[in-house]
Symmetry: C2
Subunit: 222 residues, 2 copies
């Protein structure tokens, strides 16, 4: 598929609840994915669902996931149907009724079969994508994985073909009848910010914090 193709929902990626919040712009999907640090990976293990936070990286229309070759969820995911969800919370929506309280958010949900990545070149590309998603600039600045580390790392690929994007923005959707209630309503915005870098105690004193860390701002993706 090309990057320009809009999101064309299948049965399970069709947003039914709050359908007016569904987005079909693939660039918007990419922006939401690219702005995240971890997603939540769901697999079926012995008939029951398991969901764990997981790092990821994107290259084109492929999401890469990785983890220890010993991790049960990663092993269960390989070649199996998985779901991977990235959620950004943008605000708490205060309404005049308890019922209409809500969140403003951006949420990308990807369904598909996880493909184990075994080709050395694609594995390297995937690990670069994963490292750069977590810590931009680190792939170039730090020691690359050695043979032993590579052997201990499982890499999975997930195609973005079957994906949906749901976004809520704006004020509460109160009932007409409630608008006269003497109750404050509106949005309390939420934002993830970075604090002061905390150097590793084993660094030589006065080691300068590089720009890739000190100057980092989290992308809002909006």
């Amino acid at each position: 598929m090309t990057a320009a193709a809009p999101l064309s929902p299948t049965a399970r990626s069709t947003i039914r609840r709050g359908a007016r919040r569904a987005r079909t712009d693939r660039a918007e999907l990419h922006a939401v994915l690219d702005a995240g640090l971890v997603g939540h990976l769901a697999v079926v293990l012995d008939g029951a669902p398991v969901v764990l936070p997981t790092g990821y990286g994107r290259r084109g229309e492929t999401l890469y996931l990785h983890g220890s070759t010993g991790a049960a969820t990663l092993r269960a995911a390989a070649g199996a149907p998985i779901c991977f969800t990235v959620t950004h919370l943008d605000g708490v929506v205060y309404a005049r009724s308890a019922f209409h309280h809500s969140m403003n958010y951006r949420c990308a949900v990807v369904h598909g079969t996880a493909r184990p990545v075994t080709d050395a070149a694609e594995r390297e590309l995937a690990l670069e994508a994963l490292t750069e998603q977590l810590a931009p600039g680190s792939w170039t600045a730090t020691r690359r994985p050695d043979r032993k580390e590579l052997a201990a790392t499982a890499v999975l690929a997930l195609d973005l073909t079957e994906a949906s994007l749901k976004v809520r923005t704006g004020p509460p959707g109160d009932d007409e009848d409630d608008l006269a209630l003497p109750v404050w309503a509106g949005v309390l915005p939420l934002r993830t910010v970075v604090g002061e870098p905390e150097p590793c105690p084993l660094l030589p004193p006065d080691t300068e914090v590089p720009a890739r860390v000190a100057g980092r701002r989290l992308s809002a993706g909006r």
Copy 2:
């Protein structure tokens, strides 16, 4: 079970990867859950996992989830095995090697069978817990759910018996051999903060922002 009982892992709630990061203090589990706004609910739908962000509230050793009676995931969850995960990201861990990059985080994972809540009194308690988790003070300050809204809302209960908690803190765990590399290492802390309240455009002008909104600070849970 009593609140004092430690987390006693079953096969699937035993943390195998990074076992030194497992915590067994039930009060710590509660603190991580209580500090969140949404979790990620995983269900099995037509044999494949689906994971979606979901609000929740806790009362004692029970987590309450809710959603539209029309939502396919909520319907699939009722009476079925589910997994519910709450994750807080506390920092990006920069290492001297790509391999040892990591995140500092707190992550609670609950496994169990979702019990549909049908008793009117427990449903009210659950909706209060859910509303107060999202917007402390709102249950008292706003209009309570009416009969129609209650009929449209599915409420599920999840027992906290089978839960695990994993926490990573501190600097990177670089290899001894890498410590001399001229690469900055450390932690870039992450924090979720609230911005200025954005009043609903339909509010009468000069409506004061109540303390439950203006004074809100997100609990760090640490």
